[in-house]
């Protein structure tokens, strides 16, 4: 009754199988792995800025997980929406970038070439640009430097 797992040592990770209370609206989880998320991170920050800020301000009020469920659902829906749009508009560029990240320890500076094609595609199709907050003014942002010192050894 109290636990869905026997008291003896178990070989599999414990999972609470109790479903979400029925009064909470359902939302599909994002279900995207780390590399595509890292590839989409800056566009996510640009596209879902209002929802993200709203959610984080709400979390600032209270850390209670039940406090910001509504805002959290909006955040997840917005992220799912962006990933769908990216896949509709820039599927090939998106995939080549995140596969490059997957191969290169998820380092941005080793995947500038596919990143630039993705950035230009995202700007053309969706009007989203990658901006890094806080980078020094008057200098080229690091993702646009043509001949950086830190780059892959192989051409």
């Amino acid at each position: 009754m109290t636990s869905s797992q026997s008291g003896s040592l178990s070989t599999h990770a414990y999972q609470d199988s109790t479903p979400m209370p029925a009064d909470v609206p359902k939302v599909a989880e994002i279900g995207v792995t780390s590399a595509p998320l890292k590839s989409a991170a800056f566009f996510l920050g640009a596209y879902c800025k209002e929802f993200n800020d709203d959610f984080m301000l709400c979390k600032n009020e209270s850390r209670d997980p039940g406090h910001c469920l509504k805002e959290g659902r909006r955040v997840t829906r917005c992220a799912t929406d962006l990933i769908t749009k990216m896949r509709e508009n820039c599927l090939q560029q998106f995939e080549s970038h995140w596969e490059c990240l997957e191969r290169n320890n998820q380092e941005y500076h080793l995947c500038r070439k596919p990143e630039r094609t993705l950035n230009s595609c995202m700007f053309e199709k969706l009007g989203l640009t990658k901006t890094i907050p806080g980078s020094p003014a008057g200098k080229l942002p690091i993702h646009e430097v043509q001949n950086p010192i830190y780059k892959g050894i192989q051409k």
Partner: protein, 115 residues
């Protein structure tokens, strides 16, 4: 008697063949190479700082998404734990399931996790 044509001239001059560039050239060269190296190092440090900023911001942008997903799971398990507590303590009059042990409305993550 001396040989005809006289004696061969004596080799008394120092014979020091050329052994590469001089000290000042070497010193200058080493200084120049080091200066260029330090210049590249400084550039690289600035660049690494920017790469770090890029990495950090890519994670900051993802924080709300992960936090929202984690919150939903946490909320679900919390509700399950409260339901279990209610079931166990149903015979104890005046028991409030899920009540904090502290006299404060501030949220605290649960100290007991049932496996």
């Amino acid at each position: 008697m001396p040989p005809t044509g006289g004696f061969e001239s004596l080799k008394y001059k120092r014979n020091l063949p050329y052994k590469g560039p001089g000290a000042y050239v070497l010193l200058g060269g080493v200084t120049a190479i080091c200066a260029y190296g330090f210049y590249r190092l400084g550039k690289g440090n600035l660049e690494r700082r920017e790469l770090q900023r890029e990495k950090v911001w890519s994670r900051i942008h993802l924080v709300p998404l992960f936090l929202a997903e984690g919150d939903r799971d946490m909320y679900r398990r919390q509700q399950a734990a409260i339901a279990r507590e209610k079931e166990i303590m149903k015979d104890v009059p005046g028991w409030e399931a899920g009540k904090s042990v502290y006299n404060s409305s501030k949220y605290r993550s649960p100290e007991i996790v049932i496996l």
